[in-house]
């Protein structure tokens, strides 16, 4: 006893203080996203042979243990990708639903129906100014709704483009961060799993952030760094990285504008095309290139294209009948060729469809008679009203059925995204909970550890005091 006791007390004090520090750090990071609890692993110091016996020399706090497990991290990344994809889907499709104003009693379907009904009513009262005005009024409401939809879809598409651009900026920023962490790990000559464990936490958090944008694959290198791939395309390799760029191209034949992702070199030259595979960017690109693209040629469902097609067919079919008709004051044997909608004969679409000003300025000009000078002749009006029930109007459907199809497809897409999001959120939460059973901080457990290390620290202090007293006694011997 003597100096060795003092030494043992010292190692114990240091070890318990270390334990207190680690515990305190766990407590302080209990709510930190991505933090994995740490544990101070204490071990017995090497024994000393003395007087025929091995005598202990105290305690060593030689290892800081982290509980991170790659299996959970990988599964959570996949869940995050799926979840972010569904979330992005839902956000965009909710906007589409809002633009369409459905379900409602004043949706486009009702306005189209009212428009054709007004022709039926006019056919019953061909020379009645009131019913002529009603046709104009109902047609205006319908075209206004088409304009509103077209404008809404265009704005939503631009919004998606901005979100995708922000997403690409985020991906580049995260890739830079990951390369930077890799660099710090290599420069400090320590592996993240053995050295600064917090760097591993920070890196995993960044990878999880990245996983929101696409499928992420991670490969751990021997030097502690990681290579990160975005659905198979190299994004981060050790300290180096490739940036990605969103490229918008216009098809010279169809005028269709689409976006795609490419990796770039340091000079900004395009390298490889990136298909994120899933996640936010994948879905944003899908909605920009298909769902909200009025010029879409993919063959998949496009709500914008469908609405434009519907407007185009309504204009074309109504005009086809109208140009062969006569207004109330027209004379002669040859019809004046007055279209009901413009532009004519150019195709109209949801954004351009308008009523012919010749008709809005004078309702007598509505061409609804097949012969001039017969105000009771309602042949053209009957032809137009019959369009509402024409099963070959568009895609072997009536206008109402075609619009119902649009609603059904958009509704089912939204429903799929909602169910998908609900399920993926549940899976993600479960995975996070499972991971937290291993790496998460439990405050009660930490409180116990705190007491444990505190008490041990107090006891070690007593050992030092005792050693001090013993030494004092020895030093004062003989005085």
């Amino acid at each position: 006893m003597g100096f060795s006791t003092l030494e043992i007390g010292k190692t114990s004090l240091l070890a318990q203080r270390y334990g207190l520090e680690v515990t305190s750090n766990n407590i302080s990071n209990a709510n930190t996203e991505g933090y994995s609890r740490k544990r101070a692993d204490l071990s017995t110091a090497q024994s000393r042979y003395s007087a025929g016996n091995f005598v202990g020399t105290g305690v060593i706090a030689d290892q800081l243990k982290s509980f991170r497990e790659e299996f959970f991290d990988k599964e959570i990344r996949n869940s995050i990708t799926r979840n972010a994809g569904y979330e992005s889907d839902q956000t965009i499709l909710k906007k589409v639903e809002g633009i369409m104003g459905e379900p409602s009693e004043n949706g486009l379907n009702n306005l189209i129906s009212d428009f054709f009904i007004s022709w039926d009513q006019l056919a019953n009262n061909p020379d009645n100014t009131g019913y002529r005005q009603k046709v104009i009024s109902d047609a205006t409401q319908m075209t206004d709704k088409f304009h509103q939809l077209a404008e809404g879809f265009d704005e939503a598409r631009l919004d998606v483009l901005e979100q995708a651009k922000d997403g690409v900026d985020d991906v580049n920023s995260i890739a830079k961060k990951l390369a930077n962490i890799n660099s710090r790990i290599v420069d400090s000559h320590s592996s993240a799993s053995e050295g600064d464990l917090n760097m591993a936490d920070e890196r995993e958090l960044a990878i999880e952030d990245l996983a929101e944008y696409g499928k992420v694959n991670v490969h751990h290198n021997d030097d502690g760094t990681v290579n990160v791939h975005l659905n198979g395309i190299n994004l981060v390799t050790g300290k180096s990285l490739n940036q990605i760029k969103l490229v918008e191209t216009t098809n010279s034949t169809t005028n269709e504008r689409t976006i795609s992702l490419y990796t770039t070199d340091n000079q900004g030259n395009l390298l490889n095309r990136v298909n994120p595979g899933a996640g936010k960017l994948e879905n944003q690109m899908k909605h920009y290139n298909e769902t909200l693209d009025k010029d879409d040629t993919s063959g998949n469902f496009s709500v914008a294209k469908s609405v434009h097609e519907l407007a185009k067919e309504i204009a074309a079919n109504v005009n086809m009948a109208a140009v062969s008709g006569f207004g109330l004051n027209d004379t002669g044997a040859v019809p004046p060729g007055r279209s009901f909608f413009v532009p004519y004969p150019t195709d109209a679409d949801a954004s351009t469809i308008r009523l012919n000003t010749l008709i809005t300025s004078d309702s007598d000009n509505i061409p609804l008679s097949s012969v001039a000078g017969e105000s009771g002749n309602n042949q053209i009006a009957l032809q137009i009203s019959a369009l509402a029930d024409d099963i070959n109007f568009i895609n072997n459907r009536t206008p109402g059925e075609f619009y119902s199809d649009i609603i059904a497809k958009a509704g089912n897409m939204l429903n799929d995204s909602q169910i998908g999001l609900k399920n993926s959120t549940m899976v993600l939460d479960q995975m996070k909970n499972q991971r937290d059973t291993v790496i998460g901080v439990n405050l009660d457990e930490e409180a116990v550890n705190l007491i444990k290390f505190q008490r041990s620290f107090e006891a070690a202090s007593r050992v030092v005091n005792l050693a001090d007293e013993v030494l004092g006694t020895i030093v004062n011997l003989g005085r």
């Binding site: 459905e102 019953n124 109330l328 017969e374 105000s375 002749n377 109402g400 509704g411 429903n415 998460g440």
Partner: protein
């Protein structure tokens, strides 16, 4: 198994959010009266409700069309009846002329025949809500005027022309409309002809029977040399023969007109039955629509209560989570 503090709060937060979302959804269902708040809630119901609503609107439009055309057909019926009565009157005059032994009142009868003709022409010019009943698709005064400048703007007009050996009075009736049919839709799958044309009414050219009446007038009012028949002059055998033939022609048209009145009546009946059917169908469709989109208030209120209870318990659980930790015991 370890439970981390984070996962406790994560689960709590998710449950709380879910519960609040459900309470809010039930609240919206009750306040809006609509079962489906989004097209994603029940897409097929949303579409069906839309379809039913549109069909109801269409049927309401057909009902309006039927009501206005029933009115038109009823007016046509009344007018046909009046014209028919006038034709019968003309026939009676012919019989009177044939039976008289003195010829004393031939001139007065001739004037009555002419008056009946004018009445028939006036009836044939009847309109419904501004649209002529028997002028085909040329239903407006403007149409008639434009096609026949210099004449009046009615579809039938008695014209005074020069006297001829065959038409000593010089009278003729001009029809200025056309004989086109007017069709209107009375349901999604049915349409109805709602006009009677001049040819159906008065025979070929739309004036044949009217011309026959003028012929009757000529025979009664004028003698064979084309002079006004002197008073107390009896008709000779040839004139009586002519009169008999003309009377028969008028009688034939009278019969035709009665048939037409029956056809017209049948159309009114058809419109009535279609109206009944559409009104019933609308009731049925409205029930379907309601089932597809309206909130079942009792069910929604129960759901709301249930979700409120869940939320309340979730909040209580939350407050307990906050209390139960070792630090609280230690402090």
């Amino acid at each position: 198994m370890r439970v981390s503090t984070n996962s406790i709060y994560r689960d709590y937060s998710r449950n709380l959010n879910d519960s609040q979302f459900k309470v809010n959804a039930e609240n919206l269902r009750i306040s809006s009266g609509k079962k489906n708040l989004s097209i994603a809630d029940n897409t097929s119901d949303v579409i069906d409700a839309d379809k039913f609503r549109n069909q109801i609107s269409k049927n309401e439009s057909y009902l309006e069309i039927i009501k206005s055309n029933t009115d038109r057909l009823q007016q046509t019926d009344t007018t046909l009846q009046s014209i028919s009565d006038k034709l019968q009157e003309v026939r009676s005059f012919v019989v009177d002329v044939s039976k008289t032994s003195t010829g004393y009142n031939h001139f007065a009868i001739a004037q009555s025949i002419k008056g009946a003709l004018e009445d028939i022409v006036s009836l044939a010019n009847s309109d419904n809500n501004g649209d002529y009943l028997f002028s085909g698709t040329m239903t407006s005064p403007q149409n008639i005027q434009d096609a026949n400048p210099g004449m009046n703007n009615m579809p039938f007009e008695i014209e005074q022309g020069p006297a001829t050996p065959t038409n000593p009075s010089g009278l003729s009736v001009v029809f200025k409309g056309n004989n086109e049919k007017v069709n209107v839709n009375i349901s999604k799958t049915a349409s109805e002809e709602v006009n009677t044309t001049a040819e159906e009414l008065f025979g070929p050219g739309g004036v044949e029977v009217l011309q026959k009446i003028i012929d009757v007038y000529n025979v009664v009012a004028y003698d064979s040399s084309g002079n006004q028949r002197p008073a107390r002059t009896l008709l000779n055998a040839q004139e009586l023969g002519e009169l008999n033939t003309l009377q028969k022609d008028v009688a034939d048209r009278y019969d035709e007109m009665n048939i037409m009145a029956s056809v017209n009546g049948a159309k009114i009946n058809r419109l009535d039955s279609t109206l009944d059917f559409l009104e019933y169908e609308n009731l049925r469709l409205d029930e379907y629509r309601s089932a597809k989109e309206d909130t079942d208030i009792a069910e929604a209120a129960m759901n709301l209560k249930r979700e409120e209870n869940v939320l309340q318990f979730a909040l209580q659980v939350g407050s307990r989570i906050n209390q139960l930790n070792l630090f609280q015991f230690l402090s």
